[in-house]
């Protein structure tokens, strides 16, 4: 079943003090099904992370649609109300980045458990605090799986090394159940064991039907999980769509010959 259908999605940054438009990607179309793993490939600076951020709405898409089949109906991520996006971030869509945004004086365990606590929305009459011990047990399991030393669990991640921070970051990002995960180089700065643990975790999630769109520096790590690959290229800084969504008119031949975007099934 199609979970996300991206249609002619474009992102241009308008830099006002330069009075310039900086294009990132143009008229991108693809779709992602439940349990499907889509690898986004291409050289540096081609807009891979930008694509993920547009889908998470950290960046505002410039044009196009991203139709997401949420539990409560289809919604266009490109134009959805901010509060709806917040709801989806709490309940359905996760963004896994390579940067930890820990808060000072919050322990690793507390930080990792947090998404579970704030998931218990008071609107639904649940009290977040009640489930604290169960959340901490899950957090501990996940930290153990990623190989963070037990003596660090109660310490503040702001003081950790880059690799250890990344383990905390991944545990934080993957603890709550999600239907769609946007993975932005999650293996960067991880050691071999932690990388294996992450890939294992992603495989489990995929088996459960979680859809993933990922950018990976070491693509060979996840090669066996990949169902579909999207290759972005910098040619002319624009990326005309090839007809990849069945039933949709192709825009190729619209003066945009020399397609710079392709999908390998």
């Amino acid at each position: 079943m199609t979970l996300l259908q991206v249609l002619y999605l474009s992102k241009h940054f308008t830099v006002h003090h330069l009075q310039r438009q900086v294009p990132a990607f143009d008229r991108l179309s693809f779709d992602v099904g439940e349990g499907e793993f889509v690898l986004v490939a291409g050289p540096n600076g081609v807009g891979k992370s930008t694509l993920l951020r547009c889908l998470y709405r950290t960046y505002l898409p410039t044009a196009g649609q991203a139709l997401y089949d949420s539990r409560h109906g289809v919604i266009d991520l490109a134009t959805a109300a901010d509060v709806d996006i917040l709801h989806l971030r709490r309940e359905e869509i996760g963004h896994v980045t390579q940067f930890l945004r820990a808060r000072p004086r919050v322990s690793a365990l507390d930080f990792v458990a947090e998404p579970l606590l704030s998931n218990a929305s008071p609107q639904r009459g649940e009290v977040g605090w009640g489930g604290a011990s169960a959340s901490h047990a899950q957090a501990a399991d996940l930290l153990a799986a990623f190989g963070l030393k037990r003596e660090l669990w109660d310490a503040y991640p702001t003081t950790f090394s880059g690799g250890e921070q990344q383990k905390v970051n991944l545990a934080h990002a993957l603890i709550a159940p999600r239907r769609l995960l946007l993975l932005d180089e999650p293996t960067a700065s991880l050691d071999v064991l932690a990388r294996a643990a992450l890939v294992e975790r992603l495989a489990q999630l995929k088996a459960k039907g979680v859809a993933m769109i990922g950018v990976f520096h070491h693509a060979e790590d996840v090669r066996h999980l990949v169902d579909k690959e999207i290759v972005l290229t910098t040619d002319h800084r624009r990326l005309p769509m090839e007809s990849v969504v069945p039933g949709l008119p192709s825009v190729a031949g619209n003066g945009h010959a020399g397609g710079t975007f392709s999908v390998a099934q």
């Binding site: 960046y59 917040l86 000072p104 606590l117």
Partner: protein, 283 residues
Amino acid sequence: MATFVEPPIPLKEEQRSAPILVTAQPVLQVRGLVKRYGPKIVAVDHVDIEAYPGEVLGIVGESGSGKSTVLRLLNLEEQPDAGEYRLNVARSHVQTCERVNLLALDRPARREVRMFHIGIVYQNPHLGLRMRNTSSGNVAERLIMAGERNYGKLREAARVSLAASEFPLGRMDDPPSQLSGGMQQRVQLAKAIALKPALLLLDEPTTGLDVSVQALVLDTLKRLQRETGVTMVIVSHDLGVIRMLADRVMVMRHGRVVERGLTDQVLEDPQDPYTQQLVHAKL
């Protein structure tokens, strides 16, 4: 050979749809708020605000942008020149203020709404506290105003509220004048939440505190928000504070809202020229 590709027709802020997944009504709804000082100065110029249950809304802008004035208007401290202001609270012990334009209420009714449904923490603790009364007395004052007379109950309620603000209870009978800045803010917070308001207003609550204390106070606010689901509006010029606390943010300049959006989007992909300057000016 490289031909310039027409940029796609951009999606404007106005093109963002109305909420369809979130069906709850906003707790706070403000339309067309205007506040003038004298004939020339428009401090707040047709501002609309919406905040949903359990949400933290940030308001950022430079000094003089009107952000603190907005907060004072939301606290019903001042009367605006125009606008509508509604709080959807399902609470029965006072008159229901649902669907009532609070700005049209008379003074005593406004005072009642302010007491029962709105809490505020000011940057300057002198505005919110009696510095020579005890801290517990400061918190109890709200409850006394609400009609509680039993000493034991007042003391217990003050204790609970101070504990929720993570105030060191051993010092609850010290006057704020003898407390550190961080502890003074915790007393203000305890007082603000004593009657479990629907709306908590924060005016630069951690500005002036040193960085480590600031982090602790912010953490208390975050925990409180998660536990109680209180809707918060926080005004700050510190984008780091806003990033840590706010779900959504509106950017004000010259009394107007120039941009609004998700906090991470406004800080990382600002659309308005002024917001771009503001974000890039951050050290």
